[in-house]
Symmetry: C2
Subunit: 325 residues, 2 copies
């Protein structure tokens, strides 16, 4: 590798080798959020950076980009079941933004702040070549839903359908008019992503999930993270495909499985539940106008993710979105 170029994951590995993991009782680097003990319960912290070049398609407005920067970060809090208490926004702004541009950004921050009940309490503003929005969230909770605690026999479930984001990005980059209902829903998933914050908090308060993760690096990658950290296998008996994805995939010569498993930029909760608790979790989801669709089971196995189709076990690739790749 020496002399070659590194991608995001290699960069993290190299950085970790240099800086080491923090010592207990502080959480290890690598979970969705960092956790520190406080007087009562835990302080939960997360930072997530949006970069226009990679995270903002041309049709996305500045208001939508600003809101998305916060949604990206809130999604991790949702998966951990923690209400963000406050946000800080660090901005890199290119030269030549107009007052209207900056107001549009502020509008997006304000919209997300109201939507998730999370006041913006500070930040930093800088000049940069491209628009950069780094969102920092902090929150307090007795504890978080962890990634390393899925147990064999648990139900694997997701808080929404997968595939809209990858299809929506495809539609936006094609540049044609958005006409059909499918096109509208898929592009909205890109431009106005949702985060299942209320559901995540309710699930943690009811102590229903055994483990959870957010799905922003793609469904397959999230399942692998759960499998690796919990040292279990994940068997999928169905895919949580969004309605209309199969037709879209066929019409665009794409693989439906790829759109659903490896799309990324989806802000759903991927969680595991003891079977006895899963019906209560589903009922809770309904109360928040959400669904929790079961897609498989946790198995005692070396860490791996596979699909069961009839009697065959088809391995799922351990790949997801990687910056700089």
């Amino acid at each position: 590798m020496s002399g070659g170029t590194v991608d995001e994951r290699e960069a993290i590995r190299i950085l970790l080798a240099e800086i080491g993991q923090p010592r207990a009782p502080i959480s290890a680097i690598g979970d969705d959020v960092a956790v520190l003990p406080t007087g009562k319960g835990r302080l939960v912290i997360k930072t997530d950076m949006l970069v226009r070049q990679t995270d903002v398609p041309p049709q996305m407005t500045l208001t939508q980009a600003a809101r998305k920067a916060i949604v990206m970060c809130v999604s991790d809090f949702a998966a951990k079941g923690v209400q963000p208490a406050a946000a800080l926004i660090s901005l890199g702004l290119p030269r030549g933004l107009s007052e209207g541009d900056v107001r549009d950004l502020g509008r997006g921050f304000g919209r997300a702040s109201a939507e998730f009940g999370c006041p913006i309490v500070g930040g930093d503003t800088n000049e940069a070549a491209d628009l950069i929005i780094d969102c920092v969230l902090v929150g307090f909770a007795p504890d978080i839903i962890r990634r390393d605690s899925a147990r064999p026999g648990d139900v694997v479930a997701v808080s929404g359908p997968f595939g809209y984001s990858a299809s929506g990005l495809h539609i936006l980059l094609e540049g044609g008019p958005v006409q059909t209902r499918f096109q509208r829903v898929a592009t909205a998933a890109v431009l106005e992503p949702r985060a299942a914050l209320s559901l995540g908090i309710a699930l943690r308060e009811a102590a229903l999930p055994s483990a959870a993760i957010d799905s922003s690096d793609g469904l397959a990658w999230s399942l692998y993270e759960l499998a690796w950290l919990s040292k279990v296998g994940v068997e999928l008996d169905r895919l949580p495909q969004a309605p209309g994805i199969a037709q879209f995939a066929a019409a665009h010569d794409e693989s439906m499985e790829d759109l659903v498993l490896y799309g990324g930029e989806e802000y759903e909760i991927v969680a595991t539940f003891p079977p006895s608790k899963f019906p209560r979790a589903r009922a809770l989801a309904k109360r928040y106008n959400r669904s929790l669709e079961p897609i498989g089971r946790v198995r005692a196995s070396h860490p791996q993710v596979w699909r069961r189709i009839d009697e065959r076990r088809i391995p799922v690739d351990a790949r997801g979105w990687v910056h700089l790749k």
Copy 2:
């Protein structure tokens, strides 16, 4: 303004108009750090973004840049008297970095982490056109040293000399060899800046300062922030000029006053003290191998900063470093 371009301060004003100030008991946006109540005492948070294009001169190594990103943020904690409990690092990395480059960055983070006793507990890694390092610090304290509590009669003092950074940057951009002692000290102030963290914490614990601010936007701007927030005047009877600055200024056809008052990128504490407490503060500084040099007095006046030279009052300009200007 509509249609024109905005600078950093205008951007902040516009953003604040959109998002509003958080409600008590959370601190208002605009101080060095944000403060939230916790079970015991306060949670203190700060984010500060380093952008290579504007914050990293060509001679600065990646290790130095990484360390500087943390020093910039620690400096605010120093001025508030709070030990950072943890850091998160959000990275925007350009394509084509080598493994050695990333290791150099990690080394700088590790060095600053050890230097300030602050574990790095998480972060985020992204692709960006330029190197971006957003540092997030969190800490706990019973309270912070505020900006709005300087009182008429207080002594105004600084934790170190001013002018080295602006001179050092000048020397580095000139590109000649660094030979004299002055050149070495001035360029070190740019490449290896210090932050007066131990002193700041000791001052707060001893409850000695009435108000404090970090000086990274320049001495003049920091004094104006204290004056505006505390609704007082600041009268300077001397400038805290670094040794050799007058000669450097003369040799380079620069104004010594400009280098000292408006240089910026200096990470000293600017604080005010009730006169009865100031001797103890100076003795404390000595114990930390630092100095606290008195430079003037707080006066009952409308918010303004002036120098007293003989019997004349010469106003200091309210200007400092502004991104995007």
